[in-house]
């Protein structure tokens, strides 16, 4: 059997984006040993891509804001199927988490009275997003990284976890390999925090990087944990569409927050054509009111471009399908038009949206201060994930915690922009805190050697398969085929027939993945990584397709062409995905958590 190196920690954190770093910092502050494993170099995780800001009711720009309004906005955005406890804690604790970042060295943009500046974003009633231009994620990850490196955390960079090991009901270790050398590693731990982000790489058009292969979702599922809300996947309305090589790269909602408007090929601001009832009272009915809102007029209502992402994405799809799209299959996002309103518009745009200016200039040869951008929906964020306890973030498996995008429930059927970075901080901290507590209360456990042997054999199979001449298939081709399947059949607009087809296709792809072969050596070997990632991508794709096929209504990000309306009964139901006793995937209906009266009252007050 191939050898492996063993490490032992009180708490092991898997993933070093915002949630993983925040969890590691919190756990190490409890005076215990902490290991942190990440697939990339430290500070490169997908959190760097977050642009717009961190949502927190600091009330620096509009003093009418408070946690209750933030809570109500989050629940409305999530179509009231959120884990209410998470939404409550999130709204209450986000301001403290943001101030803490400032104490650790983050430098946010400032208001005139020298406080943290906040900007408008879709679905938020007041300007709420603390930000640094349009590179807030970088500021956040660097601040956490630079604070964390002085905490004595043991960091394993470029290391992938492929299996969680259990003893009885409790998780006891994680097994993986260091990508640089291709050598196996065993991490024994009293508690494990998953903070692995999402699974956008299951789709062809995505804003996500190669790392986003649903590892945490899949590791937890294989370990017997429940997944929840898997049918809810956010398609961000504005990704780049041209040139082809940058298709899917994110264009921040901040463009619309700063006054950018969406237009179709006829020059029409189509977002005015369809404003959902839930948002009618809060939405401007004429362009001028929308404009003055973005410029800070407290009496004005939001422009319809700042409706929730699920709705904006669907409106864009409608325009494209009905033949009013832009030349390369998107619609126009125009910020240059504000020249009519502001004398120094080009400088203003470059100051507020520097990385968008840079991104379009460098990658598309387009000056956003002069011309409209072409944008279209891109797979962006998984609302669904590992089912956790709202307070502790522990999953349904003892000692296994989850935080950030890989955890489910907080955002319900649709996440509001800006609520992700705050989610990472609030629940990263909580997961670290309670994982440390669990580690202190529960002694070390053993590890099952035969499970390790199985895992090694499974992991080496793609390499050995190649050695047997002529057998096996390229893992890249299987991944491309999966991406096509998910893009076409389980996308923004869904039908029963297509999703049933997807489930069948995924089953066939699984058989092909079992024969994937990776020619070459084991050191820093992308073909091997891809072959192993396929298991996670396929598991999660199946969960998404099965849950989406089951929910016969449209809600939030889940839109069914064959059931285009919301259904009251389905509104009381969550879907839970679990590995059955025979190893097949089970989807079951469970009631949505009952909202306590005092929180229901807050929701009603803010209707």
């Amino acid at each position: 059997m191939d050898s492996y190196k063993t490490f032992e920690y009180d708490v092991l954190v898997i993933g070093a984006g915002g949630a993983g770093l925040r969890a590691s910092i919190e756990a190490s502050a409890a005076g215990i040993s902490v290991g942190l494993v990440c697939k990339s170099l430290l500070g490169k995780a997908h959190t760097v891509m977050a642009e717009g800001g961190i949502a927190a009711a600091l009330s620096n720009v509009d003093d009418r804001d408070d946690w209750k309004t933030h809570f109500a906005d989050t629940m409305r955005g999530g179509q009231y199927v959120n884990n209410y406890r998470m939404a409550e804690l999130h709204a209450q604790e986000a301001p403290e988490r943001v101030h803490e970042l400032e104490a650790w060295g983050a430098v946010f943009d400032r208001t005139g009275d020298q406080k943290i500046l906040q900007r408008n974003f879709g679905g938020h009633k007041y300007p709420r997003l603390a930000h640094v231009g349009d590179r807030t994620g970088l500021e956040m990850i660097r601040t956490l990284q630079d604070h964390g490196i002085h905490q004595g955390i043991d960091v394993h960079m470029e290391c992938t976890i492929i299996r969680l090991l259990k003893e009885g009901d409790r998780v006891t270790a994680a097994f993986g390999y260091d990508r640089e050398r291709g050598k196996f590693r065993l991490f024994k731990a009293r508690a494990i925090v998953l903070a692995t982000g999402g699974y956008g790489r299951a789709y062809k058009i995505t804003s996500n990087s190669w790392e986003y292969t649903g590892d945490g979702h899949s590791l937890a599922y294989d370990a017997g944990a429940d997944l929840i809300d898997m049918e809810y996947l956010q398609f961000h309305p504005t990704g780049m569409v041209w040139p082809p090589s940058v298709r899917g790269i994110l264009v921040t909602e901040g463009v619309r927050g700063e006054g950018g408007v969406l237009r179709n090929s006829e020059g029409n601001r189509f977002m005015f054509d369809d404003i959902p009832d839930l948002y009618k009272d809060q939405t401007a009915d004429n362009p001028e009111e929308g404009w003055i809102y973005t410029q800070g007029d407290k009496e004005a209502r939001r422009p319809p471009e700042l409706l929730t992402r699920d709705h904006v994405a669907r409106c864009i799809i409608r325009e494209i399908r009905e033949g009013r799209g832009s030349p390369h299959g998107g619609v126009f996002l125009d910020i240059a038009w504000i020249r009519e309103k502001l004398p120094n518009a080009p400088e203003h745009i470059k100051r507020k949206l520097p990385s968008m200016y840079h991104q379009f200039k460098e990658l598309a040869n387009l000056d956003i201060t002069e011309e409209p951008m072409e944008v279209g929906p891109t797979t962006h964020y998984a609302m669904g994930g590992i089912r956790v306890d709202g307070d502790t973030q522990m999953s349904t498996v003892q000692g296994l915690f989850a935080a950030g995008e890989c955890a489910g429930g907080m955002h319900g059927a649709n996440r509001l922009g800006g609520n992700s970075l705050s989610d990472l901080l609030v629940f990263g901290k909580r997961a670290g805190e309670y994982a440390a507590e669990f580690a202190k209360e529960n002694g070390a456990t053993g590890v099952d050697d035969s499970a390790i042997a199985d895992t090694i054999q499974w992991a080496l199979a793609p390499i050995e398969r190649q050695e047997a001449e002529g057998s096996g298939e390229s893992p890249y081709q299987i991944q491309y085929d999966l991406q096509d399947t998910m893009q076409e059949l389980v996308g923004i607009v869904r039908t029963q027939e297509e999703m049933d087809q997807a489930v069948e296709k995924i089953a066939a792809l699984k058989q092909r993945a079992d024969q994937a072969a990776a020619p070459g050596n084991r050191e820093f070997y992308p073909g091997w990584d891809t072959a192993l990632d396929l298991h996670n991508l396929l598991t999660i794709s199946e969960a998404v397709a099965r849950a989406a096929a089951r929910r016969q209504e449209s809600r939030g990000a889940h839109f069914r062409e064959d059931y285009p309306d919301k259904d009251e009964e389905w509104g009381k139901t969550s879907l839970v995905v679990k590995k059955g006793g025979d190893g097949t995937m089970e989807v079951s209906r469970e009631p949505v958590m009952d909202i306590p009266a005092e929180l229901q009252a807050i929701i009603e007050e803010n209707r």
Partner: protein, 249 residues
């Protein structure tokens, strides 16, 4: 159909050589797309580090036709494809495999720089006040994506391998961001002079030239730090003034 020939360095710490790969070039492609295409078509085991593919994470640093670049932000239509295009790993750090280098030294260096140490909060609620004009400069430095291209091109590290004595432009920028932070109270000047070797920098500005974030590394970060060090340790009048009146800096 347009094709281009790439000469990509293949090998490991023991050594290696350039290998030729032909691949199709389509509109809007960047060099990283070409590398990925080659990886999928004919070299499944070609090692390359990348993440965001949007110039925000700083993972895909390499040398394209001898110039340190981010592969994801180098458009093919800015390169002459009539000639073979060379891609090789950055040179200042040890090669691991193909285009991937061992940059771990940078992560160790960062730990040796004294961390942010803020003054007590300004307001009763535990928060601080800072004016935008006072944070503009620091925000410029904090744009850094840690691609280490500035380290790669710095002759003190690249040619003279002074990794024991000099922290390089990236960490001078990092120190500047801390030192010029309006809230910070830590003193890092002695470290800059001694352990971190700021004197090795002779302001050739190669770092500024290659920075993909357009940070004016030399003028805005390094030179002001050099001035602070000179003021503290080498200005005889100020030294005397300090001795007489006990004033710090």
């Amino acid at each position: 159909m347009t094709t281009a020939t790439f000469k990509i360095w293949r090998g490991d710490a023991e050594g290696g050589d350039f290998k030729d790969y032909d691949t199709e070039i389509t509109e809007g492609m960047v060099v990283l797309d070409a590398v990925h295409q080659i990886q999928a078509e004919s070299a499944n085991d070609l090692a390359v580090r990348w993440n965001c593919k949007a110039g925000k994470c700083g993972s895909c640093s390499a040398e394209v036709n001898g110039m340190p670049r981010l592969l994801c932000m180098t458009r093919m239509d800015t390169i002459d494809i009539d000639k073979p295009i060379s891609i090789e790993p950055i040179k200042a750090f040890p090669t691991m495999r193909d285009l991937v280098t061992d940059v771990s030294w940078n992560f160790e260096v960062k730990k040796t720089i004294k961390k942010f140490n803020p003054r007590p909060p300004d307001a009763e609620d535990g928060t601080w006040r800072m004016a935008q004009e006072d944070v503009d400069r620091v925000q410029e430095f904090r744009k850094c994506i840690e691609c280490f291209l500035c380290q790669d091109v710095c002759h003190v590290l690249r040619d003279h391998q002074k990794t024991e004595e000099f922290i390089g432009p990236r960490f001078l920028v990092y120190t500047a961001a801390l030192d010029m932070h309006p809230l910070d109270t830590e003193d890092r000047l002695e470290d800059l002079k001694d352990a971190h070797g700021i004197g090795f920098c002779n302001i050739t500005k190669c770092c500024t030239h290659v920075c993909p974030e357009n940070i004016t590394i030399t003028d805005n970060a390094i030179i002001p730090l050099k001035e602070r060090v000179a003021d503290r340790f080498y200005d005889p009048l100020k030294k005397l003034f300090r001795r007489l009146f006990g004033k710090k800096s």
